[in-house]
Amino acid sequence: MAEYTALGKQPEVLFWVGCAGSFDDRAKKITKAFVKLLHQAKVEFAVLGTEESCTGDPAKRAGNEFLFQMQAVTNIEVLNAYEVKKIVTACPHCFNTLKNEYPSLGGDFQVMHHTQFLKSLLDEGRLSIEGGQFKGKRITFHDPCYLGRANDVYEAPRDLIKKLDAELVEMKNCRKKGLCCGAGGAQMFKDAEQGNKEINIERTEQAMEIKPDIIAAGCPFCNTMMTDGVKNKAEGQIEVMDVAELIANAKDL
């Protein structure tokens, strides 16, 4: 982003990578797949790089409002200094926080989830989607809580998957009734409380009921949880992939 500013230019959109997308080995693959698609569609985009910091989502959901607002105010200062108007992110948690919780702290941006952004590129004819290796495959979409229920985005990821000429199959709990993967509310960073099952296992079993080849995700944390669930229950039978990875792989990018 600093480079754009030095050139006196504004990119079309700022790609907010998020902590998972920056550091987690699995999530970095999602980041790269999404970047390939952005290049393919000739989108001029920037990232904050080392100037990006956690949005504060996990701190806020854990109850640490102080830490959240410190993070928020710092990030907002950076974003406003670069006069950022439009943000796209591949993480529904960053998406929700930036979109809903930053405005009242002085950060007003147009925020899109990457599936929404890819859908808009598709609609504008800047991006094409081919079936490729996914033709005829059974794909189910796991709704991330912070994209679906939290922000009522259900169709963008599904519209993209349908373009792959794949068979989109739905789990019994989908859309508004989608079952959580177990990572939200800062659970990602702690062991679950005492119970008789892990939530990601329950969700994986729900997915296995409809025998998909691929579980599509739209969130790096859901991706981790579902990958872990599949490793436990259906290793080798089901793959877990982000919607951006599906499209990038279909194009052999």
Partner: protein, 429 residues
């Protein structure tokens, strides 16, 4: 006015008066909550109330319970027109004063009778679901004892009231002889042949109206308050995206002070009362009044709990219990105020710890399934969050791993212990 009319007026005033007194207490207890901005969005709010409460739109998402509930709801609302006639008759010594309107009266009473029969059947099915089929969400730990009894008592009330309505019509010789509107009661009339019909009719009539007044007063002590509170509750329910959690204003002020280099750190603090005495919530008075209204509105249907991922996987958390605990503690605080002449005397108890445990709070994934599931816009998640805020900001009592996560964010701007300078490494990998 004759003697029975005086008695009737007395009972009516007593019944309504006692209920009004309790409604006053209800309002006082809800007002114990903190103020919260519910201004604006009036059109959306009215629409929500019309769609969700009046229109029962979220009830029918579970078709069996939903449709049966709609039957009881419509029956309840429409049959109450009959109560108006009963009240006028009771006060002025008339008999079926509306019968003067001719054939329309028959249509009206006929409709009531059909509805009464439908309500009767629906309530019996409800009773079977709770006591014979034993549907899982009615069997949870928090449903033992009074909540179970409360649920059944309401059903018995409805069965008796509907029964009395039909008996009252069946034994009314004049009404039966008109043979208009007695669609259901005509089949029961023969059962009473040979008995003192006038006496039975009067007895049923009196028991019906007294039963209604008792039921009205029972509401305050029961989960059944939802029949009234569902309306304000859906009106004041959140109009924001579910993912948006409120930003604590007191914290914003603190953060602004911290970030402002022009502030003199040694200046005497001008305490304008903007800093709260407590961050988050440990007791009902720390919650806002909409959350307390939520608690009174909950009718313990358990749809939230049955959708909760933590509860489904055997964790202690049950969003319904969060609401019931909040209400029970609020009732306890209210009783404390009554006993101490309008003032709350500390009783060494609080919502956190004595009702809701840390274990329940930390099991939540903040997925909003409970909020989505509630048919009348109750938000258990906001209460869980307020209590987590108290645990973290007042007591530093977060689980160890979360403390590690938070210090990582503080130190390196990520929940994991990675170096901020490595954020862009993916670009070259």
């Amino acid at each position: 006015m004759n003697f029975p009319n005086v008695i009737f007026a007395f009972i009516l005033v007593l019944g309504i008066g006692f209920f009004a007194r309790n409604v006053g207490k209800l309002k006082r207890n809800i007002a114990l909550g903190k103020d919260v901005d519910v201004s604006g969005n009036t059109t959306i709010r009215w629409k929500n109330m019309a769609r969700i409460a009046l229109g029962q739109s979220k009830m029918v998402r579970r078709p069996i319970a939903g449709i049966l509930h709609v039957v009881v709801y419509i029956g309840f609302v429409i049959i109450n027109i009959e109560v108006l006639e009963i009240v006028i008759d009771g006060l002025f010594g008339t008999h079926r004063i509306f019968s003067g309107i001719g054939s329309l009266y028959g249509i009206l009473i006929g409709t009531f009778e059909i509805l009464a029969a439908l309500v009767f059947v629906a309530v019996i099915v409800f009773w079977f679901r709770r006591n014979v089929v034993k549907i899982r969400r009615f069997m949870s730990a928090e449903m033992k004892g009074w909540p179970k009894q409360d649920g059944n008592l309401i059903l018995y009330f409805e069965i008796v009231l509907m029964g009395l309505f039909i008996i009252m019509n069946a034994t009314d010789v004049e009404f039966q002889s008109l043979n208009s509107g007695n669609i259901i009661s005509q089949f029961f009339a023969p059962l009473f042949e040979g008995y003192n019909l006038h006496f039975i009719e009067r007895a049923a009539w009196w028991m019906h109206i007294v039963g209604i007044l008792i039921f009205l007063n029972y509401l305050y002590y029961s989960k059944h308050l939802h029949i009234l509170l569902a309306f304000p509750n859906t009106y004041y329910g959140s109009v924001k995206p579910k993912g948006e959690f409120n930003n604590l204003e007191a914290v914003t002020n603190e953060v602004k002070l911290m970030m402002d280099p022009t502030i003199d750190p040694f200046a005497a603090s001008d305490d304008d009362g903007s800093t709260p005495d407590k961050f988050g919530a440990s007791d009902v008075q720390d919650l806002n009044w909409v959350q307390l209204l939520n608690a009174y509105t909950c009718t313990e249907c358990g749809r939230c709990t049955s959708e909760c991922p933590a509860n489904q996987t055997g964790k202690k958390l049950s969003p319904r219990k969060i609401m019931m605990d909040t209400r029970d503690r609020l009732v306890e605080v209210g009783a404390n105020i009554d006993a101490n002449k309008g003032e709350f005397i500390a009783d060494g108890k609080q919502l956190l710890g004595d009702y809701i445990t840390n274990e329940e709070l930390w099991a939540c994934t903040s997925c909003n399934a409970c909020v989505e599931a509630c048919p009348i816009s109750i938000d258990p998640l906001s209460i869980i969050l307020e209590m987590r805020r108290y645990l973290v900001m007042e007591q530093s009592a977060a689980p160890m791993e979360l403390n590690t996560m938070m210090s990582n964010i503080e130190n390196n701007g990520a929940p994991w212990p990675y170096n901020q300078m490595d954020r862009l490494n993916w670009k070259n990998e």
